[in-house]
Symmetry: C2
Subunit: 361 residues, 2 copies
């Protein structure tokens, strides 16, 4: 079987690494000449609007999936009807637009921070009155890793904020004083079967994920599963999904979802029976889903912009090194390490050791 992947970054790379042992071949459609997934499959170097390349991909593979949620609607339109595309593109439409996404959450009874749409400066002022302050102004589309966002602390900042995000259609969200950031990864098969991974507890800095800790048995696991299940079923979703959540008191508020494998689930490569990457492939191929049970006490530390020396990481016990083979650039995710430990205390020490290595760079 041949799987086409739109996008050639580290998520595509790890999908291919998970799929090769299953006997799968891969075609990677990505305009970047140095796409880090390219060595693991056939690289079709083309843009996402290049109809000829998309038709050729569709003719050559059994299924198409994607590693990023900003796949253009035009791309999907060319592919659909020629080759199965999973997750179904209707998930993209919601994930690409923060207002549609939050509205979907509300329709499904999934709690969210208070929010209001913003189309112009007057609208922003009205939204501030409705949502309250502090609040976060976010572009409806295209933002990621904290880009396209502005935190407002007082109403007088409205014009600065509106300019800062580029005077684009936006959404104002109440700033949430959360105790924890969690995410839940789940996978749904073509037959509707759903399996959930243990929730991840995530730490972001400057809007970029730094650390994810697997939390099997977390008291909020059941609630997180209930929320993501509503989303999966409404979207008739196929594949892995990630739902990012804020914990406020004992309740969970949905922040956003990603219709793809997700950075906060990288620990599943070593820390779960079957990884998010393999389970995504199983789902989109219509194959049986794999076990999502935890293996040991796992956590992941991201390498952003720089990599510690391989020798330093490999010398650490219980530690698994992942170098994405990317050119190093500030703010870029270039690798990660997973620790899988016999107990929680060892895991916590291992995380600190890794963070110490990063500090020394």
């Amino acid at each position: 079987m041949r799987v086409g992947i739109l996008g050639g970054g580290q998520l595509a790379r790890m999908l291919a690494l998970a799929g090769r042992p299953l006997g799968l071949d891969f075609e990677i459609l990505c305009p970047a000449p140095d796409a880090c997934a390219a060595p693991l499959g056939r690289h079709r170097q083309a843009g996402f609007y290049e109809e000829e390349a998309l038709r050729a991909l569709a003719a050559s593979v059994d299924v198409v999936t994607y590693e990023f949620e900003n796949v253009p609607a035009e791309t999907v339109a060319i592919l659909e009807g020629r080759v199965p595309v999973y997750p179904h593109p209707r998930a993209l439409a919601h994930a690409q637009d923060r207002l549609r996404e939050k509205t979907l959450f509300r329709d499904l009874g999934i709690p969210t921070p208070a929010f209001a749409p913003v189309d112009d400066l007057a609208g922003l002022k009205a939204a501030i009155a409705e949502v309250g302050l502090p609040a976060v102004l976010k572009t409806r589309t295209e933002g990621y890793d904290g880009k396209g966002q502005f935190v407002l602390h007082e109403a007088g900042q409205a014009e600065v904020a509106w300019t800062a995000i580029g005077r684009m259609p936006a959404i104002l969200e109440a700033f949430v004083d959360y105790s924890r950031e969690l995410s839940i990864l789940a996978v749904r098969g073509r037959d509707g079967e759903i399996r959930h991974y243990p929730v991840s507890e995530n730490t972001h800095e400057q809007g970029i994920l730094r650390v994810s800790v697997a939390r099997p048995g977390d008291p909020l696991q059941g609630r997180a599963e209930e929320l993501v299940r509503r989303l999966l079923e409404r979207l008739d979703y196929v594949g892995v999904i990630a739902l990012e959540l804020f914990q406020v008191g004992g309740e969970l508020l949905a922040n956003e979802f990603a219709p793809r494998v997700h950075n906060s689930g990288h620990w599943t490569i070593e820390g779960a029976e079957i990884s998010q990457f393999e389970n995504h492939l199983r789902a989109v191929l219509g194959w049986p889903l794999g076990m999502t049970d935890p293996v040991g006490f796992a956590a992941m530390v991201n390498f952003i912009g720089q990599l510690p020396p391989a020798e330093a990481v490999l010398a650490l016990p219980y530690t698994h090194f992942h170098d994405y083979g990317k050119v190093l650039r500030e703010g870029r995710k270039v690798g990660h390490a997973t620790v899988r430990c016999p107990d929680a205390a060892t895991r916590d020490r291992a995380i600190e050791t890794l963070r110490g290595l990063i500090t020394q760079l």
Copy 2:
């Protein structure tokens, strides 16, 4: 870093799959156009005597290793001095010749079945008198998976046996009435550090490995480690080695060693902290060795000649599927499955289930 591998079969493939996450690139030198490792690296399609291709490989990579022990001495001679080659080729000279191998064992005080060299029919008759019957006549070179062997039960079979193996320089080995077949995999770094995996208990049928079960805590672990350590140190070995052993009573007799990653260690991908493949790469690169501790209760079942449907294997709990992407052919190793279970009883049931799938093919 770029690693060159001589040979492009499933061992090279699994080396590359283990090395890609470490940021390594691979060049695979293999004459087969459909080498199953080729999609995981740059395929240099050339024979092992092609000097130009070998020089180009040496100029292009940081280190060369191999996935089979019958690398010609001429190949090594061309590479040496141009690029580091690990494991050191002196291990090849012993592994390629059963008589040198057994003589090395004897020199090191590693017990073996009784053996005698055979150069002609008269020599075979003398060897039978010395070694006793039943005994196994094996060519000194080139045999694998039970090929080039003949089991003698009576002296009258001498001429038939001599003809059957092709009238080639041979060795006669006493037939051993063993209770178990074990192997121990160990890895030695460039700095001389040695780590051992738990022994594997192996089942062969028609001379081909069928099942390997990891046996952490086996009462013979310490003895197996002692024997393989002698070999590693004498050969100043770098990389993963496999020593195959027969258990007779409470003692271990050495059968043969493989100077490479080994089929009986495939369970280490899921069933050990760091797999034999990653540890081999760490060793040949001079990087720190990884933990060889077991994870769960693991075993491996080989798929020979045929593969069960992917869906059937993937539906099984605790089971990890490995399809080498090879053309199916009788007697050929085309894949395996590893089970990694929470307890021994679950592991044993999982092995039986997999063997049942094979029987249905």
